[in-house]
């Protein structure tokens, strides 16, 4: 049996040694693991930042208000966050290898979510990315458009205004909630017009097993804060006097609606026809709005086409697939341009019909879902 004093000495010594080591660790952490401040130079000095080192480039840039596109939130699964790093990048991480091929390596292209900022860096990014910002908003209203599409209107708080052209989309940040451990990003087209700078309206369709749509349909309430960033995309209405053909179904209507609002604002007199493909009457929505556009825009016509109308619908409008309706409507397309939004299958099939009728490829603009 050891005496009490010997026991205490023993405990004391062991604790002292452990404490001494802990102090060494703290010092090491502050020096070795601390990268201090580093300089980040963007686009040859157009923008320069002094940032705290040690973080991935993607999040470091986000912290400085520059948003590199990312669909997976920096986990290395989408490959969208590519950035050209002229100097300061370090070795290629194993997680970058699936996305960076030989050609990329020669051009110094790296995956910004996997590159840590450890020393001064010089990077190059496309100019458009500078106009992308993060917006803090609040849910103004949530309205059911159909059994599986909701219209969500967000009021911008900070910054209070957004300038986007019709046809753009934003990224909706789904916070960590019951179903997700980390925030997730999902893209939705903006359906409000460019003139409503203080609000952003989205059409969101419920997706089975969807992280964001489950959040929106089951958890989101009026007054909830929502973070979005954008605007993204290069789908927009061209200035010309050609006749417009719009083709979009379901939530693909969002950018078209934005364009129609823009046209109404500007008092456009262009001939425009919107072919809206749906299955049955229950899939139709915003029909009254479209009729309203027909009144405001002298050259506009709304043509809903049902591919599978139910007997109780008593449908008297166009029927069949959208490609068939297009085929019936036009003989030659010599003074037109087309805007399509929706699934790749629908777009590809419609493009075939349009081209067969003489519409050149340069005048067909589309926003494919995938």
């Amino acid at each position: 049996m050891i005496s009490a004093s010997a026991f205490l000495i023993g405990v004391g010594v062991a604790t002292a040694i452990a404490a001494a080591l802990a102090v060494v660790m703290v010092i090491a952490d502050a020096t070795i693991a601390n990268y201090g401040e580093v300089k980040l130079s963007v686009n040859g000095g157009t923008k320069e930042f002094t940032v705290k080192g040690g973080q991935p480039l993607l999040s470091t840039l986000m912290g400085e208000g520059i948003f590199i596109p990312s669909a997976c939130g920096g986990r290395g699964s989408c490959g969208l966050c590519r950035v050209t790093i002229d100097s300061g990048a370090g070795e290629l991480a194993p997680t970058e290898l699936p996305w960076i091929n030989e050609a990329d390596r020669n051009k110094s292209v790296r995956l910004s979510c996997q590159v840590k900022v450890k020393r001064d860096m010089a990077i190059r990014i496309p100019e458009e990315l500078f106009s992308i910002r993060e917006y803090r908003t609040e849910v103004l209203s949530i309205r059911d458009l159909t059994y599986d599409i909701k219209e969500v209107t967000l009021r911008l708080k900070e910054p209070a205004e957004i300038s986007l052209s019709a046809g753009k989309y934003i990224q909706f940040v789904v916070p960590a909630y019951e179903r997700t451990p980390d925030p997730v990003y999902r893209a939705y087209s903006v359906s409000s017009g460019p003139s409503s700078k203080g609000t952003v309206e989205l059409e969101i369709r419920l997706v089975p097993n969807g992280i964001c749509t489950t959040y929106v349909f089951n958890y989101l309430k009026v007054g909830d804060p929502v973070t979005i960033n954008g605007p993204y995309g290069d789908f927009y209405l061209r200035e010309s006097d050609r006749d417009i053909i719009f083709i979009a179904g379901g939530s693909g209507m969002a950018p078209i609606k934005s364009m129609l609002l823009d046209m109404a604002e500007k008092g456009s007199t262009r001939t425009a026809t919107y072919f809206f493909g749906a299955r049955a009457v229950r899939d139709l929505f915003l029909v009254e709005e479209m009729k309203g556009f027909e009144k405001k825009l002298p050259g506009f016509k709304f043509v809903p086409a049902l591919s599978n109308p139910q007997p109780e619908d008593k449908w008297e409008g166009e029927t069949g697939l959208i490609t068939e309706v297009l085929d019936r409507h036009y003989q030659t397309l010599d003074h037109h341009e087309a805007y399509l939004c929706g699934s790749p299958g629908m777009i590809d099939a419609s493009i075939k019909v349009l081209k067969a009728k003489g519409l050149p490829e340069e005048l067909i603009f589309f926003d494919k879902f995938a």
């Binding site: 989408c78 997700t180 087209s189 089975p208 097993n209 992280i211 939530s251 591919s307 299958g345 099939a349």
Partner: protein
């Protein structure tokens, strides 16, 4: 069976809320390696290959694309509907490429059964032999796929 760190990382990506709401693992408590081994065994017993099943899934999906979101007849006795929503999903196995959210619903009118699968499923089955965990709402049983889609044994091209 113990699995490598890489497999564990992949299994973590399959958990709920990382890529899709309910994840890909269902109610499985097993390791991913064991799930893959068991499904591999089942597929071999059926005299098929993962690629063969995936090829059939692609063929039927492509046949249904012309329906533009509505059911269309695909010979000999199928009805297929293909639709999609905006966005893409990354594969949890970490290979490059992200997959459109395209759903294909295939109805076998002769047998009176139907199955739904996405582009991501086609990739996970064809390239990784992954059919989702048991208990997952979206699990595709190899046997059911083979029967409903009528996958021919060891298709050679």
């Amino acid at each position: 069976m113990k699995q490598t760190v890489q497999m564990q990382a992949i299994q973590n990506k399959m958990k709920p809320g990382v890529i899709v709401r309910d994840g890909f693992l269902g109610t499985e408590a097993r390791n991913l390696v064991d799930m893959l081994t068991e499904d591999e065994g089942e597929v071999t017993r059926l005299g098929l290959t993962h690629q063969g099943i995936a090829r059939r899934m692609i063929a039927l999906r492509d046949g249904g694309t012309a329906g533009l979101g509505e059911f269309i007849d695909v010979p000999p006795h199928f009805e297929v509907r293909v639709d999609s929503v905006r966005g893409r999903l990354p594969c949890p196995f970490g290979d490059p490429g992200i997959f459109p959210k395209t759903n294909a619903t295939v109805r076998n009118t002769l047998k009176g059964r139907e199955i739904t699968y996405t582009d991501l499923h086609i990739h996970m089955i064809g390239s990784h032999g992954f059919y989702e965990g048991r208990g997952s709402q979206f699990r595709l049983e190899p046997r059911e796929l083979a029967e409903v889609l009528e996958v021919r044994p060891a298709e050679t091209e």
